[in-house]
């Protein structure tokens, strides 16, 4: 007996050491990004690559809108906010205006200037295509005789100001269409109400899904806001960005864990103390389950490397099923005070419960969905670990037999209520009838929802702030863009340009092709200049001579123009220019399996019908809608999980058939199955959402329901202690997970509500079915 406890301790220590070693070596880690749960194989890798690009950029960024009644106070507030943030280590950049851009290079960079004869602005090209050269001559004269015409190059190098005209157009590629500049070059935006907001763009070094980084980011923002309010009491700031959602989720989880978590722990403690009259069962059960979880964690980490936190949560919930084993042990001791004999009395039942549950959950691990694989594997292993704990640890440390048996009278009354008054035949027929009615109805009536909003429980003010920011700045979120692929840079940009020309409002879309002429176009631009401004004895030659430039200077300039023909500016190089900064994320270079591709930022809202038709008509155009794609993945996930749940029932059914015969197997499974079906119907009737997370609760119901059925069926002539154990198990599970129904996170709430309703029904049905059922064949087998 002592040896058993020693063995268990050694096992737990080994697991702990293994776990520490795995995490210490850096090969293992926790995943916290909810999106990482979803199957990556849903789209093609190119789409994924585009999303990764969008996400990597978006998740580290925060946009702050700062408002105050007086303009001076608003600007002061924005400046202080920027300066305070700038000194924070978590912050990579803070930009309140053009001067703040780290790579701001003035009116145009040398690179763009060198290619001025190929990079014509659209305005200039249109003028020249119409043969209008007079505006260019006027422009040249203005820049010599007019005011404010100062430039970084000599007049003679670009007399018609082609480079400046191009740079001006490129400057319109601002990060957001609703953004304007005040007279000092600071970003601002104006609401329809006439209210002005200063706009600050913040970029962090790390993703907010890294918990440490998130905490540092939150404190940096809080600190800056505090300083801002101290200096400008009338100012307020509206912050939006992935970091805000992540921080809100963290705060909420923390709050709920402390309230719901401590509530349920206290409840379970009180319940067990009431039932057994001592703290020992509570502590021992806790040790058994914790040991099981640690065992499972080590194996899961060793096998998968990265473990998702949500996997852990669901997996650990299922491990909670193992508390049943403990209850059976303690309840048995009311009759068999000797620990060893108590254990041998229940070993068979709990082993059978273990095998059926493990089989069911390992079945889930065979799916191609990484999250379900992890979850199934973790659940099976934690049950195995907990079972080992019950076998090895409990008899050794069980101590004095429990003095009190308060639950027994209750269990006896419940038993006589559910068992006796119902005629034996009706005892099975009623639930079977219920099953036959409710299951098809549930399958037919339940309309699942797979919206990503289920993963998102952001507080309303944050969502409101997001809408305001989107409306004011005209920025689209949710990763909606158009993906354009092609054989080459030119091909992609050609497709882009054609799309923009054909799509309503397409000309205004932020796209590389709007600003960058592909090499063939650059050559055409040069040829156009050669036919017009730089024609032989054309405006360039005549104007420069007329202004009094020496002939050698004029000839030199004309030669510079002629030589420029052969060297177009490549896209990668163009993107490296400071002015192209906001367009850089839109290009996905060719490489490996990937074709060249670009993204076009689409305006907020769903694309119109004409745009949809354009996209549908060309296979090289794809609509990227991250939100829809994630919802689609969730739907796939849910469908597969539903099939797997069905398969788990089937596997368990086969095993139970072997143990109890067909009738017994049906009677055991009918409880969780009927309870699940009725719960689905109740949820539908209540108007609640049915999603993946409700389904996950049903996976848990299967394990619990089977255990109840098996234990009640395998108990010998006096079933009251087994009934008491099952009742206690149901009550603790309700306390542990049913309380999640009060969670503000839709996913957890759905899980909790389903579990609360389903478990109550499972308990009721299992009681009724066990009483009506035949004595287990297994007792003689």
């Amino acid at each position: 007996m002592r040896a058993g406890a020693g063995l268990w301790l050694a096992l737990v220590l080994a697991s702990g050491l293994g776990c520490v070693a795995l995490f210490g070596s850096g090969h293992a880690g926790f995943q916290t990004n909810l999106l990482a749960l979803l199957p990556a194989e849903s789209g093609d890798p190119l789409r994924q690559r585009a999303y990764d690009r969008i996400t990597a950029q978006a998740e580290r960024r925060i946009i702050a809108l700062i408002h105050a009644p007086e303009a001076a106070e608003r600007i002061k507030a924005a400046t202080i906010f920027r300066d305070r943030l700038r000194s924070q280590a978590a912050v990579e950049s803070v930009v309140l205006g053009y001067q703040d851009n780290p790579d701001e290079g003035g009116p145009y960079t040398q690179l763009l200037f060198e290619h001025r004869f190929g990079l014509l602005s659209r305005t200039d090209r249109a003028l020249l295509e119409r043969g209008e050269t007079e505006p260019f001559v006027a422009r040249a004269r203005n820049s010599l005789f007019g005011l404010g015409a100062t430039r970084s190059h000599r007049f003679i190098d670009d007399p018609f100001g082609l480079a400046e005209s191009y740079a001006r157009e490129l400057n319109q590629a601002t990060p957001a269409s609703g953004l304007r500049l005040d007279t000092q070059g600071r970003f601002e935006t104006r609401a329809q109400s006439g209210r002005y907001y200063s706009v600050v763009f913040i970029e962090f070094h790390d993703s907010p899904f890294n918990f440490d980084a998130q905490a540092a980011q939150t404190s940096a923002l809080d600190h800056a806001l505090e300083q801002m309010r101290a200096a400008a009491p009338g100012a307020n700031a509206i912050l939006t960005g992935m970091q805000r959602h992540a921080a809100a989720a963290t705060a909420q989880a923390r709050r709920e864990i402390s309230i719901i978590g401590s509530g349920s722990a206290l409840g379970i403690l009180l319940l067990m103390f009431w039932a057994f009259g001592s703290l020992r069962p509570f502590l021992l059960s806790g040790m058994v389950i914790a040991g099981g979880c640690l065992f499972a964690l080590t194996l899961t980490v060793a096998l998968f490397g990265q473990v998702h936190v949500l996997t852990l949560v669901f997996g650990a919930s299922i491990a909670g099923v193992a508390i049943d084993y403990c209850f059976h042990f303690f309840a048995r001791r009311w009759r068999e005070p000797d620990p060893a004999r108590a254990l041998s009395g229940i070993r068979r039942a709990i082993s059978m419960g273990l095998v059926t549950s493990m089989l069911a959950y390992l079945g889930m691990a065979l799916t191609p969905l990484p999250a379900l694989q992890q979850m199934g594997f973790f659940a099976a292993m934690s049950l195995l670990g907990a079972w080992t704990g019950v076998i090895l640890l409990l008899p050794a440390l069980a101590g004095q037999p429990p003095r009190q048996a308060r639950p027994l009278p209750l269990a006896r009354r419940w038993w006589s209520f559910t068992g006796r008054p119902v005629p034996t035949s009706a005892g099975t027929r009623l639930p079977v009838l219920l099953l036959l009615l409710s299951l098809p109805a549930a399958l037919y009536l339940t309309s699942p929802r797979d919206d990503i909003a289920l993963l998102n429980s952001s507080p309303a003010p944050l969502l409101q702030a997001e809408r305001l920011t989107q409306r004011l700045l005209g920025t689209a979120t949710g990763g909606r863009a158009l993906l354009v692929t092609g054989d080459s840079v030119t091909d992609v940009l050609q497709r882009e340009a054609e799309f923009r020309a054909a799509s309503p409002g397409g000309d205004d879309l932020q796209a590389i092709s709007r600003y960058y002429p592909a090499p063939p176009q650059q050559r055409r631009n040069h040829a156009l200049l050669a036919d017009t401004l730089y024609a032989k004895d054309g405006p360039a030659a005549t104007l420069l001579a007329e202004l009094g430039f020496p002939d050698a200077v004029v000839q030199n300039h004309l030669q510079t123009f002629a030589k420029a023909e052969t060297q177009p500016l490549g896209l990668e190089q163009w993107l490296s220019a400071a002015q192209a900064r906001t367009l850089r994320p839109l290009w996905l270079p060719e490489g490996g399996e990937f074709p060249a591709a670009s993204m076009l930022r689409l305006p907020p809202g769903a694309p119109d019908a004409a745009t949809r038709r354009l996209i549908a008509a060309d296979t090289r155009l794809q609509l990227l809608d991250q939100r829809a794609d994630i919802s689609e993945s969730l739907a796939q996930f849910r469908q597969r999980a539903a099939w797997l749940l069905g398969a788990a029932y089937l596997l368990a059914g086969l095993l139970l058939w072997r143990l109890f015969g067909l009738g017994g197997a049906l009677a055991v499974l009918a409880a969780p199955l009927t309870a699940s079906a009725v719960t689905a119907l109740l949820l539908t009737a209540l108007g609640a959402v049915f999603s993946l997370f409700n389904l996950m609760a049903m996976v848990l119901l299967l394990g619990l329901g089977m255990d109840y059925g098996i234990f009640l069926r395998m108990a010998d002539e006096d079933r009251v202690p087994a009934m008491a154990a099952v009742g206690l198990s149901a009550a603790t599970t309700l306390l542990a997970f049913g309380l999640l129904a009060f969670s503000a996170t839709p996913a957890l709430q759905g899980f909790g509500l389903t579990l609360a309703l389903g478990l109550s029904l499972t308990f009721l049905l299992a009681s009724v079915l066990a009483s009506g059922g035949a004595q287990p064949r297994a007792s003689s087998a």
Partner: protein, 216 residues
């Protein structure tokens, strides 16, 4: 040094114009040590200019002449009369050019990052508004004989450095001369002269130009 503080003070009480401004102006004028740029009570100045543009490739500067109108609140109208006819209007919101009655350039400060700076700088230079210029330049101020003074400006921001390497403003009661050196070596000298002692109020065409309208 004090001179511009007084000037700034005048700016600050714009709302009280009238008597108070006139009184201050008279007071400031009485003190010889204060070099006060003189404007009418409504902040209007009219005068003529001659600009010489020196290019390295040419022996002789290119010269242009014309008239200007500077309204403290509304902006600058720069009317070139020779050798071409063109009008440049600079306000805090926009820069526009007209040739032969046709608008040939219209830039809004709301969308052109360089422009807001150039517009603010140009207005600041012709107003010799030290407070405004401080935002964009390192300033060295030196006082000369009588009430003359000189400001040497070096741009702070990279964007501005690419347009102006150095600016020099000389004046007394008025701004008299502005030198602008461009980074590539071209430079301009602008002389402001023939200030009207009692400038005529804004004409309707001028008002329209300053408010974003077209020339007549």
């Amino acid at each position: 040094m004090q001179s511009f503080t007084t000037h700034g003070g005048l700016r600050g009480i714009r709302g009280l114009a009238g008597i108070l401004a006139v009184c201050l102006w008279i007071l400031a004028g009485m003190d010889d040590s204060l070099a006060q740029t003189a404007t009418s009570a409504d902040g209007l100045q009219r005068g003529a200019f001659v600009q010489q543009k020196y290019l390295a490739e040419m022996a002789e500067p290119l010269v242009s002449r014309g008239e200007f109108l500077l309204s403290r609140d509304q902006g600058l109208i720069w009317r070139i009369q020779a050798p071409v006819e063109s009008i440049t209007v600079i306000t805090r919101e926009a820069l526009r050019q007209f040739n032969a009655g046709q608008q040939t350039l219209a830039l809004s400060a709301g969308s052109q990052p360089g422009l807001n700076m150039v517009a603010a700088v140009m207005l600041g230079i012709f107003e010799a508004d030290e407070a405004l210029l401080e935002e964009h330049f390192e300033i060295r101020h030196s006082s000369g004989e009588d009430d003359s003074w000189q400001l040497d400006l070096r741009p702070r921001a990279n964007g501005l450095k690419q347009r102006m390497q150095a600016v020099q403003i000389r004046g007394d009661r008025r701004v008299r001369e502005v030198h602008i050196e461009e980074p590539a070596g071209d430079r301009s000298i602008i002389r402001l002269q023939n200030y009207a002692e009692t400038p005529a109020p804004l004409q309707s065409e001028e008002l329209s130009l300053l408010r974003g309208g077209r020339t007549e």
